[in-house]
Each structure stands twice: as C-alpha cells, then as structure tokens.
C-alpha cells in the first residue's frame, strides 16, 4: 500500500529527507517516529503528492506519487499537524464542503458524515461553529474529514501534538477505531507511548534518514538484544557471589534484585531458579523485563551518532594525512 524507494527531498541545499525506504502492506499501522524537524512532515507531503521528490520514487495505493498525483490524492486521507479549520463554518458545512471537493455524490457524503461523526462521538457538535470547538474536537473533526472519502491509506501527521492528555486519548481511541483489515495507516509522531500503543511497524527517522525500521518487537530485539529477566529477593544480597550456569549472564544487581540475560530461556531459566533457591535466596518474584520503545529509540540514535562521530574523525585523520603528505 505504501512503498518508497530512496525517497529524497532537498530544499535548495538542505536535505530534508534522505533515501527513505519504506514498505507498508495493507492493514498495517506504520509509526514514523522522530524528533521535530526530522523529516516526517516532508515525507507525508511527498506521499500525498504535494511535494515532488527530488530523487527516488514512492507508490501509494498502487499509484506513483509523481505520475498519478491526483489518483494518489483521491485515495489518501491526510490529517495534518495543524487542523486549519474555518472558524465561521459549522461542522456539517465544513464536512459537506470537503465531500464536494472529493467529488462524492451528496447522498453518499451526507451518509458518511453521519456515520463518521457518530463513530468518533462528535455527532452532538455538528451545528456548532468550528471556532468554538476544543482542540480535541477540532482534531477529531479533521480526522473525520480525512476519512470522508473512505481512503485506503491514511497519513496522520502528529495527530496528538500539543494536546492535553484527555484530548490526546480521545484522538488515539478514534484512530484505533479506524483501523481495519485493508486500511494502511502511516502515523507520524514523536510521542513514544503513542507509537508503542498504535504501531505494527516502526520506522525511526533522524535528520531525514531512516535509522531503524521493522515490526515493533523485532526492531526492539534487533536493537536491544534478547529481553532481560529480573529476580527480587526478600533479604539483602550482601556477599552473594553465586556462579551462574552456562548461557546466563548477570547484567545488573541492586540491594534486593538481580537482572539476567538468558540465551535459551526455556532450558536455562528453571536451572537458574533452582540455583538461586539452592543459594538460599528467598525469591519473591521472577519476571521478564520488557524493552521499551524509548530504549530502542535512544539506542538507535546513539548508534548513529557514534557512527557519525567516527566517520568525522576518520575524515579529519585523512585530511591531516593529506596535509602532512
């Protein structure tokens, strides 16, 4: 549904998006995660045929974003970061206006408006002036607008940015409701919790480049390695120097806790537990410590930073060598 190959966008000499490769099948939610200014909005604008890529290509809903721009735009729903509503219109007028722009027959868009407003719980505000809407209501109405023509692809750019927690929850729930078997959603955010909650796939974008990409769990495992296990005991661990069996590594310890990395958990974990009990440690809990997306994100960013620093050092060394020569 969304496919990009070396997608690049330059504004004069500034490279906003650099060689982005994405492949999101139908029915999946891809979260494009990155800080402000990382190139998320520019990517969305290219995928919606608003900006023309400088290099590379993108195919959205089966259409090339450059050659078939209008076909792409009629099959994509976009929720922009700034909702940009017309304050003097009411909800119905606003949605009817967009229904006409999408070329839908009047009975069709009226029915869709009814159905979608009810789905996101906004039916009560349809005759209210948009200038009087709260932030959450405005974003939900924009979401309805983006869904009006029932697009197979949804591009959601920072849908909950600068929102209070309650409004953000309302919008997140509405997005969850819009997930369906054949609809592809690309969601841009810098909110890690939101990404973790909604993503099937995550792509981390940093300075215009994708630095990590894949299904959520696989990406975490790839960046952070296997999950860790934590044992909590009743008494202090003073003096415990137990020798661990093969395939178990101690990765951290505190006054009353131990953390392990285990290579083959099915075989090794029972042995480890028996060993702890033999050492007379009163274990009160033993649990898997899940990796968070935040850890994965920070790891990916620090890896890239290190690579860039070493590249820079190598370049400086080469320059010095040339100078000496």
């Amino acid at each position: 549904m969304i496919y990009t190959e070396n997608l690049t966008k330059k504004f004069n000499e500034f490279v906003a998006v650099n060689n982005v490769n994405l492949d999101v099948p139908a029915g999946q939610v891809l979260v494009l995660l990155g800080p402000n200014g990382a190139g998320k909005t520019t990517t969305v604008r290219m995928l919606d045929s608003i900006l023309v890529p400088t290099e590379g290509r993108a195919v959205v809903a089966g259409y090339d974003v450059v050659k078939d721009a209008e076909a792409v735009r009629s099959r994509v729903g976009v929720l922009t970061e700034h909702h940009g509503l017309y304050g003097r219109m009411n909800g119905d007028e606003y949605l009817e206006f967009f229904g006409e722009l999408y070329g839908l027959p009047r009975p069709v868009y009226l029915e869709r408006i009814d159905q979608l407003l009810k789905q996101v719980g906004m039916d009560f505000a349809r005759s209210q002036r948009l200038g009087e809407y709260s932030k959450g209501m405005r974003q939900k109405l924009s979401l309805v607008r983006s869904m009006l023509h029932d697009p197979p692809v949804l591009l959601l750019d920072e849908p909950t940015s600068a929102m209070d927690p309650e409004s953000a929850r309302m919008v997140r729930d509405a997005i969850k409701d819009l997930r369906s078997g054949d609809r592809t959603i690309l969601l841009c955010t810098h909110n890690l919790q939101e990404a973790e909650e909604l993503a099937d796939q995550v792509a981390i974008i940093w300075h215009g480049q994708i630095i990590a990409n894949g299904p959520l769990q696989e990406m975490k495992a790839g960046l952070l390695g296997p999950v860790e296990y934590e044992a909590r005991v009743v008494h202090h661990l003073d003096g415990w120097e137990g020798r661990l069996s093969k395939g178990v590594f101690l990765t951290g310890r505190g006054e009353d806790w131990l953390r392990f990395k285990i290579e083959e958990p099915r075989e090794t974990t029972p042995r480890l537990l028996r060993k702890l009990l033999r050492d007379r440690l009163d274990v009160i809990s033993f649990r898997e410590v899940p990796h968070t997306l935040e850890q994965a994100y920070l790891k990916a960013v620090s890896q890239v930073q290190k690579e860039q620093e070493s590249d820079q050092e190598r370049k400086e060394d080469q320059e010095l060598e040339v100078d000496h020569a």
Binding site: F11, N12, E13, R45, D48, S49, I50, L51, V52, E70, A71, R73, S74, V76, V78, T80, H82, H83, G84, L85, Y86, R88, M89, F97, F98, E100, L101, Y102, G103, S142, R145, S146
Partner: protein
Amino acid sequence: MLESLRPALVITRREVRDQLRDWRIIFPIVILTLVFPFLANFAAAQMLNFVTKYGADIIGERLVPFLMMIVGFFPISVSLVMALETFVGERERGSIEPLLNTPLKDWQLYLGKLLAATVPPLVASYLGMGVYTGGLLLQGIPLPEINILLQVLVLTSAQAVMMVSGAVVVSSQTTSVRAANLLSSFIVIPTAFLIQGESVMMFWGTNDTLWYAVIGVVVLAVLLVRVGLANFRREELLGRDIDVLNVKWGWRVFKAQFTGGARTPWAWYAKSVGPTLRKMRKAILLAAVIGLVGVVVGYFQIERFNLPITETSLKEMDSRISQLVQMWPLFSFGPVLYIFWHNVRTLLLGMVLGLVSFSILGMIPLFGTTGVIGYLMALLSTNGLPVWNYAMFILPHGVLEIPALVLASAAVLQSGAILATPSPGKSIGQTWLESLADWCKVMVGLVVPALLVAAMIEAWFTPRIAALFF
C-alpha cells in the same frame, strides 16, 4: 469543461459565504457601495454648476465619467486585501493544506480563489456605479456616452483582476499576511499611478486614447493571471517555510546559470552563451518583428508630423558633418565612451522597465529606435532626398548596434516569458535569478562588446563616411 470548473466554484462559494459572514469585510463594501456614490453625485452636481458658470462645460462632461471610475474603483480596492487574506492568510492559518490534500488541480484552486477575491468587490463596484448612474438620472445630469461607460466598466474589471493576480504573485513569495501587506505596495503604488494616468487621459485625451489604457490594463491583467497560475503550485505554496534572504544561494544560482560550468572564455561562449542564444530563438525573432513594426509605425507617422526640410538646413549639413569630424577626432575615446554609455544606459533602462511590466515596456528602446529610423526614412523620401545617402549616418555603426539592440530586447522578452511560464521544480526566485543571469550573459558576451565596437565606428568612422556622400 463545466465539470472541471465545478470544484473551482465550490471553493468560490465557500469563500464568498465566509466573507459575507465577516462584518469587517461587509461594512466597508456597503459603505463604499451605497454611501460613497451619493457623495460623488453631490460632488458632480456642485462641480457642474460651478464650471458651467464659467463656460467650462467640457470639464463637467469629463468629470462625470471620472467620478464614475472612482466610485467603481473604491470597492475593488478591497479585492487586494481579500486576495492577500484568501491566499497567504489561509496558508498562515494552515487551512490551505487540507485543500491541497484533495484531488483539486492547482488551476482549479487558483481560479476558485481568484473568483472569490474578485467577484464580490466587482459586484459591489458595479452596484456602486449603478447607484451613481441612478443618482445622475434623478438629478437630470446627462449620462456619459455608452463608449465611455463601457471603457470604465472594462477598466474596473481588468483592474480588479490585475490587483488580485498581483496579490497572488506577492502571496506566493511570503509566508505571512504581514509580509504580504508589506509587499503589496508593489501593487498599490503602480495601481495608483495607473489611476492617475487614466484620469489624465479622461480629462485631456480623446475617447480613443482611453481604449489604449483599457487594452494595456487587460494585457497586464492576463499576464499577471498567467504568472499567478505559473507560481500557484503546491510545491511552491508549502515548500517555503521562512522568509529569509539567502544571498549565498542566490549567488550560486546566478553563477551556475551565468557560467554554465565553463572555466575559460571560449568554453563559456561555447557552453553557455551559445545554448542561451539557441533557447532565445523565438524571442530574437519576435524582437526582430517588433523592430520591423517600429520601422513601419515610424514611417507612417510622417502623415501626422510632417516636418519640412528647408534648403538652408540641407546646406548646413556639410558644415555640421565637418564640425563633427573635428569634434570627434580619430581614436579619441571621449566620444566613444559617451556614445557607448548612452546606449548601455538605454538598454539597462529597458531591462528595468521590462522587469515591472513582463517585458512589455522593455521593448520601448527597440521600438523607439526603429520607429525613429522609419520616420526619418519617410521624412527623407517625402522631401525627395536620397534615402541611401542619408543611411550612411546610421549604417556603418548600425550594422552592429541594431542587432545588439535586438538581442538585448530579446533577452528582456525571454525573461518576461520565463516568468510567466510554469517552471516545474523551480521557485519564482530561482526562475527570476536564472533569467537575470541569461540576460547578463547576452549583455556581457555579445551586446556590450558589439556596442563598444559600434561606438568606436560611430565616433571615428561614421561622420567621415557620411562626409563622402555630401
């Protein structure tokens, strides 16, 4: 066709409805439409009484259509504010992006907004003129001729379109209404001059003279609409985030276009000047045609301005040529530089005039020069003098000077054509810089050297060759 216009009209309908809900727009339009025409009626009646007392009826006759033009102009002045609001205002508030996300074509969005900014003020303007005309009828003041009424109507409509499309061009270069308002003086000041010019034509010119102004304004409006369309692109609308002057980037664009990557003068002529000339083929042809039309128009002006050549003045010719030979000694650079600078300055002025008028006014130096040549030819032949003998005053240096003038004018024409044509992937700033670089290339590579050599021939050889024929 009608089906493709439908989305544009949907945009217009929404915008007009929005405007009608804003009292800040409605209030001034109502005042200008309903109150101002009565004031104008009162002023017209008083002035007519006053001038009739002193037998200056003609002033009264001219005043009536003039006031009608002013009554019509005031409501359309609002269109400028509306256009800035509807184009750059939407962009500033972020409400344009959802529109750009729809399957609308760029021209549909542009047309919808153009109509929304033009039609309500124009309707108000026609209403205002209607109220004014009704007032004239009630007061028993004779109406202007139908020809003049038509001129005022067309002028008002074209001015509205011109201001709105100018506002679109301004809007495409800014990201805020504030910046657009600052830039809008580039529309307000020329329009103010235009109105003054039209007023002068109304009072002192003939009815036919005002038709020239009507044609000029319509052409300018059409060109501005074309430029607006060329620059109203999604990429351009959303690609610009901040208004900064990037001198470094500007210089790089200019340099790259000017040098064409060449490192030696020969390579520059081959790689850069040559392809630019090939690109300018149509413009060169058009400039040559304009030059020829200038000759023909100049030739026929003899019927209006026939200056008799007396025998005394012919006798003086010989002594004048001798004087010139003495004043301009061979290989003296003073007169060469004087002639050269005069010609270069004229072409620079042509470029500046061309910049503000999509090349139209940039044709004045070419048209004026060839017009004078045509007129002189006619003058000589009507007075029975040998044209070819007198051509020796022009031909020796003209062989270089006239083609140089045609080339420089073609470069100005080309700049105007490029500005009015969509350049995919390029901003208006980049297009402008590249066309300026092309103009400089033609000037530095061909025109300036040709003008320098022509000035040497004109100062050192033309008077001496002419002396052989008298």
